[in-house]
Symmetry: C2
Subunit: 160 residues, 2 copies
DNA sequence: CTCATTTGTTATGCGCCATAACGTTAAGCG
DNA sequence: CGCTTAACGTTATGGCGCATAACAAATGAG
């Protein structure tokens, strides 16, 4: 019987393998938690919406176009909180796919009036159902009241 | 009294200028609210931390290195929830700036043991103060209880 | 008409994330 | 022991979201 093994395998000394790292410096930071939650949200969105060829930005365009026919790009970019330069690229792709139309404003030839095509409306119908499932999965561990409080709190953070 | 101007300037017909777009399709969506809040958080972080040469990712490395000296890169990447391949780039820059040291593990020559340098610790001291101000600005419209509830809700969303 | 503004486009870069391919070192196993 | 598999890290590449700057075209004000 070996004398020397008084504490067999009980890790009394220095760890030699998997001591879990101390994450306490990060886990109460709002920025870190926002990043993780947004990453989860993006993954859920991608999982369910990429079969429809939609990213969050593209979906936002379609939704706001349905609610605001003949909107100008500047106004749409403002509503989406993105820069007009980035919207240009989004719109070019969506138009090339036949989901929307950019028509010149007769009264202001600088402006493009945006409108969904029939194909765009058809896609949006399917997309709304998929998007509802995304929201459901994301908030399935929250009560409706907690979900509402979360959204309200996020809105206040974003408002500054 | 002019007869013809029955409804002077009341926009009874088509709008000719700034009808505010209908954002209702987006404003209750968790994904959209997460994006806006995270964008605000990133802007606040950048405003106060970029003078110190820090991004969120770099700050996370420094914080976890202080709490976990001699951690391996794989464990650090897991704790930060980033991929080891992306951590490599972060660490190379931080090491080139003299903020941390990558020492070969004597008992496992594959692994790098990470440790802050004196310069890294000095920077981190200043960075913590600035980061506290970031958190303060972000949550200044929330009560402490609301802030805690927000972080808890975000953690549950991220947990799936 | 001239000049400043509005509207949209293009180009470029950063931060973060992911995957794939690779070299090196260590560990498992016959 | 030698072979195979796994762990650890690096490099390269691409996507997404965001930002700025420089630009062209059309409009409106003086």
């Amino acid at each position: 019987m070996p004398i020397a093994r008084r504490q067999p395998r009980d890790r009394a000394g220095l760890s030699d393998a998997a001591a879990p790292p101390d994450m306490s410096p990060l886990d109460q930071k709002l920025g870190f938690r926002l990043r993780l939650a947004q990453q989860t949200a993006f993954e859920a969105f991608h999982r369910l919406m990429s079969p429809l060829g939609l990213t969050p930005g593209r979906m936002g365009v379609l939704l706001l176009l349905e609610a605001n026919p003949d909107i100008r790009q500047t106004a749409l970019a403002e509503a989406l909180r993105i820069k007009p330069s980035n919207l240009t690229v989004l719109l070019a792709a969506l138009e090339a796919e036949g989901l929307l139309r950019r028509a010149e404003d007769a009264g202001n030839r600088r402006a493009n009036l945006l409108r969904l095509t029939a194909a765009g409306r058809a896609l949006l119908t399917r997309a709304k159902a998929a998007e509802a499932e995304v929201e459901r999965q994301l908030t399935e561990s929250l009560t409706p009241a907690e979900r509402a409080a979360l959204i309200a709190a996020l809105a206040r953070v974003a408002a500054g």
